[in-house]
């Protein structure tokens, strides 16, 4: 009667209608009950952008004799086969999603700010394209909102916020770097997936505190309540429709109303907005704050945060979400193939210190690449999650865009040219997919500024510029306006 698939609790119609489990939320923006002719428009209206931030750059060519281990070997079409042939590149981990990828090189995160530290300015620049309010590395704040906030502000219901999550350690140094409400107003990210889940779906107050049951039970109660209410409403609609003294126009309108109620219930078993089942909720609810902010828990936490993010966008709760992995200059000791590596920041500097000097780390470039592989694998879990949720027009991934980005281009140099941007999802066909593009002309050492990358993402999901056209003026006014045509379908 039920089946679990990638941690999603699917509920059959009969079971749902009997209120036995019903771990499903019939929230707004469910495509399944939108008339077919409106599907294309509805899909566009549910566009979203998800940003996963990795710190400390990636291991790419350009540092001494270090080989290229990040970018695909050739510009142009990406296929599972071509990416599989690039097995020495971190991005090849994503080969199963090749057809949905848009990998972008040739972007420069122009240093319009001196925040006193490459990590400090990288963190505040990467989603804001903004200047800072000073050079104090720990106190410097962006002088603009971030792109996730812009998307939420324009596209979400008034007063709602973008989803701002994190995974991994806090060190008291650049703990939260990504999301800004406005100039000087940076958000604190939620570390614990279960808290984020409860807050989003309103299941943590009355239901959880007084019901004494699990979150799944609360969801079941919600579904059962909806069934009872819907039964009552349907009976009222039926009585109204039974009235013979009804104009054809009124009858038609009431029938559409009745159909919408029915479609919502039918949609509950087949739409993307499906609550998590116990197989996901039980382990998620056991992740404590200290575990979520530990080296040991960082990847598991991030994976659960992705489940929360996917559900949030599927149910129309948010249109923008960020996940910051690790603190500002990520000191996490990641584990690769069972081996715990040195602190990532040290690896990125290739020495056992936060500076340029110190004992050399043997094979540091390889270890940096291994951390990149960990992140690639993590990003793949997000893409798997978004792909597993189906809509009448495809998968949830098709409706939006997920972006794996960094706040630096590489480690040792803290470079900001050739920033690594890996996108997936076309936002309903607005972005190219299955391709690796050069936004500038890297061969001629020409780069486009990263505000254009943010503009492109913002425009694709539906944000507007001051004149009402597609977004092209996000970020600091000193940066040239525009989008990146190579990214647009």
């Amino acid at each position: 009667m039920t089946e679990s698939r990638r941690g999603i609790h699917m509920v059959g119609r009969r079971l749902f209608l009997h209120g036995a489990a019903g771990a499903v939320v019939g929230l707004p923006l469910l495509e399944s009950f939108i008339p077919k002719q409106a599907l294309a428009q509805a899909a566009a209206s549910q566009s979203f952008a998800i940003f996963m931030r990795q710190a400390n750059g990636v291991q790419q060519a350009g540092i001494g004799s270090e080989p290229e281990r990040f970018w695909p070997s050739k510009l142009g079409a990406l296929t599972t086969a071509s990416m599989g042939a690039d097995g020495d590149r971190a991005t090849s981990v994503l080969k199963d999603h090749a057809a949905k990828l848009l990998i972008v090189r040739g972007v420069e995160m122009k240093q319009i700010v001196d925040a006193g530290c490459g990590h400090s300015q990288g963190g505040l620049l990467c989603l804001t394209a903004s200047k800072a309010n000073g050079k104090n590395v720990e106190k410097a704040l962006a002088q603009n909102e971030s792109i996730d906030n812009r998307i939420a502000r324009e596209l979400q219901a008034s007063g709602t916020e973008p989803l701002t999550l994190r995974a991994g350690m806090r060190s008291g140094y650049l703990d939260d770097v990504l999301s800004y409400r406005k100039a000087g107003d940076r958000r604190t990210a939620e570390s614990v997936p279960y808290n984020a889940y409860k807050a989003l779906f309103g299941l943590g107050t009355t239901d959880m505190n007084t019901g004494g049951g699990s979150l799944d039970e609360a969801a079941s109660k919600l579904a059962a309540r909806r069934k009872s209410v819907n039964d009552l409403i349907r009976a009222e609609m039926k009585r109204l429709l039974a009235n013979t003294k009804l104009s054809a126009e009124d009858r038609n309108r009431l029938q559409q109303h009745q159909d919408a109620i029915r479609d919502l219930e039918v949609g509950m078993q087949q739409n993307a907005c499906t609550l998590l089942g116990n197989d996901a909720l039980d382990p998620m609810s056991k992740i404590t704050k200290s575990q979520a902010e530990s080296d040991a828990g960082v990847i598991t936490t991030a994976q659960f945060q992705f489940k929360v993010i996917a559900l949030a966008v599927a149910c129309g709760k948010v249109r923008a979400a960020t996940l910051q992995v690790g603190n500002g200059n990520d000191h996490t000791q990641y584990t690769y193939n069972g081996t715990k590596l040195e602190r990532f920041h040290f690896i990125s500097h290739r020495v056992m210190s936060d500076g340029a000097t110190g004992a050399a780390i043997a094979n540091a470039d390889v270890k940096h690449h291994q951390v990149d592989l960990v992140f690639a694998g993590l990003f793949k879990t997000l893409l798997d999650e978004l792909t597993s949720r189906t809509t009448p027009t495809g998968t949830l991934l098709d409706q939006g865009v997920a972006i794996w980005l960094n706040d630096l281009a590489n480690g040792p140099a803290h470079a900001t040219r050739n920033m690594p941007y890996v996108c997936a999802g076309s936002v309903g066909g607005k972005l190219k997919n299955g391709v690796y593009v050069d936004a500038g002309n890297q061969g001629s050492n020409q780069y486009v500024t990263h505000n254009k990358f943010l503009n492109t993402i913002g425009a694709a999901v539906g944000c507007k510029n001051a004149a009402g056209g597609a977004l092209d003026d996000f970020g600091d006014s000193s940066l040239a306006k525009g989008t990146i045509p190579q990214m647009l379908a």
Binding site: F33, P35, G211, S228, V229, L232, L240, S247, A248, Q256
Partner: protein, 588 residues
């Protein structure tokens, strides 16, 4: 005054009559909507021409259009607008502030004559149902989670148990949510639902859980989401008298944009609204309350499209930053309407003629005013030789203009459609505003370009537009255009009748004028203008397009407009008519 150097353009047009076979555009939506035609203007049973719905009885009207007793068809399920939903929730729960939930409801179409019409005709389909569901759940949760809010809904007295208390709650709250007493069957159904609250919510507080689930249901009920009119007993002329509760809702939503107060419900229950005198009394009560002011002003802002002021980019040479000035231009109109309608208790004649503006340091110069400082708008008398009312203020003039030139067609169409309720044939599909030519004034170019439009342009559209030729693209007074003297003299055909048949058999009159002030002053005394104003008010208050069968009704109200000018008097007159207190029987 603007003087015409050459009046020979209208050598044959003098005050008199003129019968036209062309320009057969229909009048349907008051203020110029899409043409709708009632099959039988004498109250027959012919369906509307655009009634694409099969089955049922079709749209019919009842009553003699020659009297004030005509009634047009109306839906029995006008949906609350998002704003009405929000205000109703606020009042239902006696909240100090609105919930903000309306922001998550489905957006309403913006192309209807009034927002209330758009909402009333809307269907709860697609994703809008899910949005209502979420909003209802959020509101219910917030109410039961706040002891003070819950207490306001809790019946007083001593009860044997939670269920008995719940039964009393359902009766009292249901009467307000449904805007009528619950039936015995409904009371039973909700009592059953209430009892299930303990298991469906499971907080341990049976009363609170029951209330929560009942609130969720009532806020999703069609009887809350629609302003349902269930009365069905028709009299001999197919009119169905509305119940007191139904009239209470019509009154309250029309004038306050929200559900009736407890006092109005009590009056309905006491039968006070069964007589037209009682309806008039309560209309006056509501109109005397500040809560009615929003509706009185919003009517004018919507019909005259004030929200579009400032949306037209101007050539830099004019120094008119439309985007920056937009708030001031809209606020000027708002303050002017407030002053005329609310403070002066005036009407359309005052709106058309009073030479008043509200200016700040940024807009004063375009009126030729000096000595104005600060960003706050200040009331100023304008030159009565050149300015008269809303349509000579900067907002209207700049909206209906191109980036560098006046636009006689769109200035004229506003007068024709929204002031005279006439509706010329639509333009050709590929119509573009003409480009200016060296040595020609704007008027000369338009006259040359719109020749093919025949009499529509020559007698209906262009004349009122040419009256505004004394104003440039940003609304500044000008004497010359492209180096030549401005010609603002013209003659406008005032057509009679509101259907093609009526227009064919009714004589037209010609209104000669020289300039905007002259034209607007004459229009203020023109019966057709007051009829149009009355029609628009009927549409606004009834939340539907009016029907030709209701001609007698708007003509009666128009007399009130012309005699007393006060909008409040018009409304009081309207609510006593059959068109407000009855509906036409549907179906078989």
């Amino acid at each position: 005054m603007f003087r015409s150097p050459n009046r020979s353009f209208f050598p044959a047009l003098t005050a008199g009559t003129l019968l036209l076979a062309a320009c057969s555009g229909e009048i349907a939506g008051p203020g110029g909507g899409l043409a709708l035609e009632s099959g039988d203007q004498n109250g027959g049973a012919g369906p509307k021409a655009n009634d694409g719905v099969t089955g049922g009885g079709g749209h019919v009207s009842a009553g003699d259009p020659a009297t004030p007793n005509g009634v047009g068809w109306s839906t029995r399920y006008p949906k609350l607008s998002n704003s009405q939903w929000e205000k109703s929730v606020q009042q239902l729960f006696y909240l100090a502030d609105v919930t903000g939930q309306q922001d998550a409801l489905a957006a309403e179409r913006a192309d209807a004559l009034f927002d209330t019409i758009a909402a009333a005709e809307a269907t709860i389909g697609g994703d809008s149902w899910g949005r209502y569901q979420s909003a209802a759940e959020n509101v219910a949760e917030s109410i039961v989670g706040d002891a003070a809010k819950l207490a306001k809904l809790t019946p007083s007295g001593t009860f044997a148990d939670a269920n008995a208390k719940g039964t009393a709650f359902i009766k009292a709250f249901g009467r307000r949510a449904y805007r009528r007493p619950l039936t015995t069957e409904e009371q039973t159904t909700y009592t059953t639902l209430f009892k299930s609250g303990a298991s469906l919510v499971g907080s341990g507080d049976a009363y609170k859980d029951g209330v929560r689930v009942v609130l969720e249901a009532m806020l999703q009920s069609p009887f809350f989401l629609y302003r349902v009119e269930q009365s069905t007993k028709a009299n001999g002329d197919r009119k169905v008298a509305l119940s007191g509760d139904e009239i209470a809702s019509r009154l309250s939503y029309a004038l306050w944009g929200t559900m009736p107060t407890d006092e109005l419900f009590a009056a309905a229950s006491a039968g006070e609204l069964d007589k037209k005198e009682g309806v008039a009394k309560w209309a006056n009560t509501l109109l005397a309350d500040p809560k009615a002011e929003e509706a009185l002003v919003a009517f004018h802002e919507q019909i005259y499209q004030v929200d579009q002021y400032g949306g037209q980019v101007k050539s830099a040479s004019f120094g008119f930053d439309a985007e920056a000035l937009a708030p001031a231009l809209r606020q000027e109109a708002h303050l002017f309407i407030e002053d005329v309608i609310l403070k002066q208790k005036g009407g359309i004649a005052d709106l058309l003629t009073q030479p008043v503006g509200y200016v700040n340091q940024d807009t004063a110069k375009f009126y030729g005013l000096t000595g104005v400082s600060g960003s706050e708008l200040q009331k100023r008398d304008l030159d009565p030789e050149t300015r008269a009312g809303l349509f000579t203020q900067l907002g209207f003039l700049a909206k209906n203009a191109t980036s560098a030139n006046s636009d006689p067609v769109h200035r004229g169409l506003m007068i024709v459609r929204k002031v005279l309720c006439d509706d010329p044939d639509p333009p050709p599909m590929m119509f573009n505003l003409p480009e200016m030519k060296p040595g020609l004034t704007t008027r000369e170019v338009y006259e040359e370009t719109t020749q093919c439009g025949g009499q529509c342009h020559n007698t209906l559209i262009n004349p009122p537009g040419f009256a505004f030729e004394g104003f440039d693209t940003v609304g500044q007074v000008r004497d010359t255009d492209n180096g030549k003297p401005v010609d603002a003299a013209s003659a406008l055909e005032i057509r009679q009748g509101y259907t093609s048949a009526d227009k064919k058999k009714s004589p037209s009159t010609m209104l000669e004028f020289d300039g905007a002030v002259d034209m607007l002053t004459q229009l203020a005394d023109t019966p057709r203008v007051h009829e149009c104003y009355a029609r628009n008010w009927m549409a606004y208050l009834l939340a539907r397009e009016v029907d030709p069968a209701e001609r007698g009704a708007w003509e009666a109200i128009a007399k009130t407009s012309q005699d007393s000018a006060a909008v409040r008097n018009m409304i009081t007159a309207l609510v006593q008519l059959d068109t407000f207190r009855t509906r036409v029987a549907d179906g078989t």
